[in-house]
Structures are given as C-alpha cells and as structure tokens.
C-alpha cells in the first residue's frame, strides 16, 4: 500500500513536471498568431540606434578575422566593433590589430586580468563603448548582415531595454549528440525563450544579445564570478522589470557549431548547470513581483537537476508498473510520465522536420532514427552533467577556469558561452 502511494505520488509529480516543460517548449506553436509574433518585424529603413559590438576572442586567431569581416559587411550604418583580447595572447591580438588598421570601425581592448574569463573581458570593454546599445558576439559566430537593422527597429518599435536574437547550432549531421544539441537550441530560441520574455523572467543567451548601454552600466555589467554570466544578466535585468524582447528568424539567426567532442559538450553543460545553480543561489530572482514568475524562475533554474532525476526515474517507474505487483490503477499512473515523454519525443521529431524546412537542410530518415535512439543516451549525458555540476559546486570548485588545465580546449571557452 505504502509503495503504491509512493509510486503514485512520484509519478504524478513527474507527470506535471514533464507536462509543464512540454507546454512551455511548444509555446511558439500554440497558435499561428503566436508563431508570427516570434519573428522580427521588417525594419522601416530608419536607423537611430548606434551599436558597440563586443567580440571577446581568446586563442581564436584562426576564425576571428573572418568573423570581423562578416560583421563589417553589416548593412547598418552606425556601429563599432570592440575586439577584446588577452595580454597573454599575442596571436589573436595580432589579427585584431590588423583588422583595426584596415577599418576605423574596429577597435581593440586588451584585458589584463590575471585569471581570464568572458565576463571580466566584457566588463573591461564596457567603459570603452560609445554606442547606445552593446551587442555581444563570439569570435566564431556567423552573423547575418541585416541583423543590426532588424535589432535597431526592434529597439525603437518596442522600447525594449534588451533584445535577444536567435542563436542556432547548425551542424546536426556531425554526430548523434550534435543532432540533439541542435534541436535543443531550436526549441529554446525558437519557442521557449519567447515564453520567458512574455512571462517577464528570462535567462539571456551568451551572444546575439543586445542591451542598452545605460542599462548595462547601471547593472554594473556582467558578474565576473558567475559561470553563466549571460543567464545571470538576464535574470538580474528582468527581475528589476527591464523590458526584454526576443525575436527569432531562421535567416537572421547567429549560426554556431556544437562542441567538438562529447567530453567538451559534457564540460560545457556542467558549467551551465553550475552557473544556473549559482544564479539560483544569488536570489536576484526573488525580486520578481509575482508568485508565478518566481515559480517559473525557480523551476527554470533548477531544470537541469529535475531533468537528471526524471531521466532516471521514468524508466524505473515503467519497470515497476510492469514487473511489480501493484494495483492496475496505480500501474496506470506510473505510465503517465512515460506518456508525456513520448509526446515530447513525437514533437521533437516534428521539430526536426521543421528545423530542416526552416534552414533548407535535408534531414534524412537516419537522422530521425538517430534522434529517437539517441534520446535516452542524451538524457544520460544531461544527467551526468547535472550530477557533475552539483558535485563541483559542493566542492567549491566554482572557478571559471573549467578548461584552464587543458590548454588545447581553450579555444572552446568562448564557444561554450551560450545558454541551454
């Protein structure tokens, strides 16, 4: 009897959790009107906002120049690019200086912190920004030339303090986990983030994010001690009522690639999770005015852990229903979370199809197969990252230099700065 009650309670809790997550994940497709509202509106040709684009680069001499060139191709007429390099990184500095010599819109700021990380680098550059709006990009980003014009229009049309553009991982064909990783981004930026903007609580992304310079300075920039400084900034700004607008257009997103190996994906995810945990403990979200918003904040910041737990419990539950002698009614309840998981699976398959359509990519049958078969394994990976994050946080290893001891991975540090 006690077992039955326990199982039923756990199952129902999991069911509601999964159902809410699914509900939010599908936000953008609720109605055609909602879907239409998630896009950028067409710029009116008028331009009034000036941009300072921050481009932190670390050991990225190989890709930096191309990224700068592409940014300079932007159709917008009033922007500057501030490349932030480290004093201990002469190769990247060299590339940045050459670019600055070629074009007056490019400037170089040198970060002299002993221990380096992205928020420190960006805080170093903040006083040098001349534009009305600070935008953040990563050194390997492919930015659409018309993005700035759209963002300009968005700022003016909505009176926003923050505009978050879409970021999309594109190399779904590279490996089984990159497929799932791409799809995670798709659902996050295409759908879930819009819900957060609407609800007034939003963890921002690491790049293609634009903040009014005044607002950013008032907020003292980024938190140099937080592992998810992007998420933290979003939480702090939305908690004090700043207006955040999210827009996603498949041809306007910033394209990126997934981490190069399973291990670096695990590390990246560990860092985000730990960052989310830190943001949770900083309690800025407690200032949110409504109970619903605080609940959403609590839930969102704890998602990695809930995910880890549910990944383990759902299969266990089904096994209990099938093999243990519980009443039929209770057995039915134990299937509820699995049912939600299945619905989520189906929507992911449809999402993959939509992803292919939006980006003109040929998604083949084998990719759908990989998506389904890879699901449980990806869940294991996420659970592993969650456990690892809790472990590190408990041991007080909350240093940014997650990869500092592996020199070869330094190139990935910046690449990892995107939310999930």
């Amino acid at each position: 009897m006690l077992t039955s009650v326990f199982i039923a309670v756990v199952s129902l809790a999991l069911f509601w959790m999964a159902a809410f997550t699914l509900w939010w994940q599908m936000h953008a497709w609720r109605t055609p009107e909602v879907l239409a509202s998630t896009r950028f509106s067409r710029p009116d040709g008028d331009e009034h906002v000036s941009f300072s684009l921050l481009l932190p680069a670390r050991h990225e001499q190989a890709v930096l120049d191309h990224t700068i060139q592409r940014l300079l191709e932007s159709t917008h007429t009033d922007f500057e690019i501030i490349v932030i390099v480290g004093h201990d990184d002469p190769e990247t500095t060299e590339v940045a200086r050459k670019a600055a010599d070629r074009d007056p819109r490019v400037r170089v700021v040198v970060d002299t912190h002993e221990k380096k990380n992205k928020p420190k680098a960006m805080n170093t550059a903040l006083p040098h920004c001349r534009g009305d709006v600070v935008g953040v990009f990563d050194a390997e980003d492919q930015v659409h030339p018309e993005l700035l014009a759209h963002v300009d229009h968005a700022f003016r049309a909505t009176g926003a303090d923050v505009v978050q553009g879409g970021v999309q991982l594109i190399n779904y064909h590279s490996s089984w986990y990159s497929l799932r990783n791409c799809l995670e981004y798709f659902f996050w930026f295409r759908s879930r983030l819009h819900l957060h903007a609407q609800k007034g609580f939003i963890p921002l992304g690491g790049n293609t994010v634009f903040v009014r310079t005044k607002v950013l300075r008032e907020a003292d920039g980024w938190d140099p001690n937080c592992l998810a400084e992007d998420c933290d900034l979003g939480v702090r700004l939305s908690s004090v009522g700043k207006k955040v607008v999210v827009a996603y257009d498949s041809d306007m997103v910033t394209r990126e690639e997934t981490p190069g190996s399973l291990m670096s994906l695990l590390k990246q995810r560990t860092r985000w999770n730990q960052g989310f945990l830190q943001v949770y403990r900083k309690r800025d979200w407690k200032q949110l005015p409504t109970f619903g918003q605080r609940l959403l904040a609590r839930y969102t910041l704890m998602t990695p852990y809930l995910q880890a737990v549910s990944g383990v419990i759902i299969p266990l539950n089904v096994a209990i229903a099938l093999f243990l002698d519980v009443p039929v009614g209770v057995a039915f309840i134990t299937f509820l979370p699995a049912v939600t998981a299945l619905v989520t699976f189906v929507f992911e398959v449809v999402g993959l199809h939509d992803f292919g359509r939006q980006y003109g990519l040929r998604v083949r049958f084998v990719h759908y197969l990989k998506l389904i078969v890879g699901g449980p394994f990806y869940q294991v990976l996420l659970a592993g990252a969650a456990v690892r994050a809790v472990w590190r946080e408990q041991r007080g290893r909350n240093d940014w230099e997650l990869t500092s001891h592996v020199g070869a991975h330094l190139a990935h540090v910046n690449r990892e700065d995107v939310p999930a």
Binding site: W29, L35, S37, F40, A154, Q198, V246, A321, V346
Partner: protein
Amino acid sequence: MTSTLPAATGVKVPAQRTAAPKTGSIPRTTPPRRLRGSRSDLVLCVVLLAVILVVQGWNIADYPTLSDDEGTYLAQAWAVQEGRGLAHYTYWYDHPPLGWIQLAALTWIPAQLAPESMTVGSMRAAMLVISAISAVLVYVLARRLSLPRWAAGLGMLLFGLSPLSVVLQREIFLDNLAVMWTLLAFCLAASPSRHLWHHFGAGVAAAMAVLTKETMLIVLPAVLVTMWRHSHRDTRKFAVTGAVTACVLIGISYPLLALLKGELFPGAGHVSLWDGIEYQMTRPGSGFILEAGTGSYGVLQSWLYYDRVLPIGGLAGALLLLVTWRWSVTARALAGPALAVAILAAMALRPGYLPAMYVIQALPFLALVLAGGTASVAHAVLRRWRRTDEKRALTWTRYAVAVALVGASAAYVVPRWYDGNRTAVTADANAPYRAAADWLGTEVENPGKTRVLVDDALWLDLVHEGYRPGLGVIWFYKADLDPAVTKTMPRGWRDLDYVVASPTVRRDAVDLPNVRAAMENSTPVATFGTGEDRIEIRRIQAAGGDR
C-alpha cells in the same frame, strides 16, 4: 514575414495578437470569435436546449421499452460503483470499459443518495445530461463550421427533436456517450483560435470516444479532415501530429489494461482482449440493409418507423454538399460531418452485423449536413446570382420560393414529428417490467435464497429487492455462457427457481440450452402485458422440494 515582436518583461500585457500570415488558411464566411460572448447565440442555444430537454425528459422512464443493453451497461456501472471491478461477472472485453465507468461517475451522486434509484428506468434521467451536452456541442460545431445562426439552431433542433433521436438518446447506450466525445473532438478540431492544445485535446476526446464505444474509430478520419481544414499551414504539422499522438497514446491504454491484467492474448482459464475483438469481428452478419427480409433491413425499417426526415434528409443533404463541393463554401466548411455521414453510410451498406443503435453515431452528422444543405439551398434561392440592381419582381419571387419551401417542409415534418414525440411523452411501454419487478419483490418469500434468471434490464431492480447479485439474480445467458455461473448449477435448470421470460429471453433461449430447459420445465405464475411483449414469471417445477 512581417509582424511585431512579442510582449515583453515588466509590463503585464498578454501576448500581442499578431495576425497570422494569410497563406494556407481557409476562407471564412464569418471571422472567428467567442460564442460565449454573443448574446443572440446564447439565447437561441438556451431556448432550444430547454425545448429539447422537455421533450426528451418528459416520460423518459416509461418510453421506449427498457432494452437489454441498457441493463447491461447500467449494471456494470453499478458494479464499478460498488467496487466489484469492471463488471459483476467476469469482464470479458466485449467493449472497452470507459463507457460504463463514465456512467458510474455520472450516476454516482444519485446512487449514493438513493441506492434503489440505480435502475434503468430512473437512471435514464442521467442521459439527459449527455443529450444536453451533445445538443449544445452540435450548435457550437455548426457555428464553428461557419453556418449561420438559424442553420446552427436548425441542426440542434434536428439532432434533439427528431423522434428517432428522442427514442434513442433517452436510452442508456454507450453510443450516446461516445457521440458526445466525438462532437467534442470535432469542436476542438474546429477551434477558431487554432490552438495547439485544442487540437491536442481533440485527439484526447477522439480517444475517449473510441474507448467509450469502439465503433467510433471509423469516424476519426472525419475529425482529422476537420482539423486539417481548420489548422494553419505554419502550425499544422505540430497540431495534427500532436492530436494523432494523443489519440493513439490514450487509445493504447486499453490494450495496456489487458496487458497489466495478463489478459492481452488468449490462454487457458482466462478471458482476453484478443478473444473479445475476435468475437466482435466475427459476429454473424445481418444481411444487406436494402434487401427485404434481412436483419439489417429490419433495423433500417425500425429507424424509418420513428423518423424519415433526419436519416433520409440527412443523406440527401450529404449528397447535395458533395455534389456542390466546387461552388459552395458551406459544402467545403461541412466536409468533416459530410465525410462522417458518407463513412457511416458506406459501413451500413456492408453486409456485416448492423446493431439497432448504429444510427446513434450518425445522428449529429445527419443533423449538421441537413442543416448545412438547407443553408446551401437557402443561399441559392435568396442570394445566388443576385445583383444590386435586381428587378423587384425577381426578388419577390425569391422570397416567395423560400416561403413556399419552408411551408412545404413544415407541412411534411411537423405533423409526423408531433405524432412521434407525442407517443414519446405519453406512452407507457414499461408497465409490465415494473409489475414484474414488484411481483418478484413482494410475492417471493426469501429473495436472498432464490435463484432467478432475468434479462439485464430487470437485474438491478431485483438486486435492490434483496436478491443476491450475480448468482442469485442471474443474467439469463450467463447460465450457459459463463463458466463461473454454470459451475454453481451442477444440476442445470433444476438448481434454479424462476425464470422471467421477457421478449429478449424468449428470443435468445433458442440458442441457450440451460435457459431453454428452464423455460420448458417451468409454468407461468404471473403474466404482465399481452402478446409478443408480455412478461411471464415462470416458476421452475423441480425447485423447492428437492433443494
């Protein structure tokens, strides 16, 4: 794509209603809006509902004759309420159990307040709730399918007041519950807001319909067509897959139930879902519906006896809509219901088994297409090829034709429906049943120790009179078909005391040796009613002395 950005943080505004891209959406005759907010819709709907409820509710317990199936479902609902499992005899997967589980929930409060009210006659009142919901859903669906207000009202009236509907919707049939769920599925599929979770809900409702009465499965393509037409191209793939997934996942719960009980596949010593399906699929056919003399023909005639307007008019309406598909907006808007009628008609033409309640699932769709067809004709007469500078005389001719058509239809329909419904609200068809139950309650000395074979319709009455449920008062056919019952009758009919010979029992006794023997070795001690419909209480001769 041009549009504005979503609402933002800090400001408490709901998501902005951005116009969806026009491409791919169906043309609408009226813009989508909330029915709840429309006073004229509400008033019309409430007035019609009141009329329908009065006609359906008045005299509901006494007409039509109690049917065996009503007794079966209600008794099983009673078993669920009493915590005796899904049925008081072994549940053998004849139908999915959701139908009588709903009945159990629906009748739970009255059954708690007055346990003896749990009999077929009095619990028919619960069906009024279902009829009311279904009738309102017909109206809502008609409006969502862009029919004008008067046509939606007409559809609701046809559905609720046809004498055929009045008779069938009064009875405790699973089909009536399934119709309600199907209509809900249609309404959600045609949701004006085209909300993903409305479509998902349509899938859930469709699954509920199938789990209530499995025959609803064949109508699902029509739900899908409706959803397809009403969803927007940009969100359609999510909406439709979501609905299908929901429907399948909930539908799977039935085989899952069998699996959890270890009864999915046939095996020695237990019933199984497989056997249940096999039984239903191999029921002997009742012949071609249009061939005089077959069982199916008889069933058709029994429907037409009550009403010709709705079945024949509905089929004509469906045909009209199919023919005018190219030109008529109404025809395209009603594609779903028209398809449902077409599928159900095609299935009826198949020479398989045709149950008498088959037509129930077609009633709302017949009503909708007939109303739609009428709207089409009205439009053709009053509006088509009409120019602003049309001659006065021609306009007057149009109105004259319209008035003539309305008059002619009313002259045909009203007297027939008046007669049919007058019978429904005045006739008492169940006096013999009540008298038989009374007799068995008062004249038999020790009900607790008496064993009696009855048909399902009387069973609950006798349970309330103190007979032992299951083995004391026995569903007559269980005496031959249920091993758990026959093993308590080692001496066959000699172990029984009475058999209540109702028309159903007399009809089926031919194929049931124990029941036949009980009939042959008994003499009537009381008879109620006369002729074919009489009910005899027959005392079995060997009973008493040597037991």
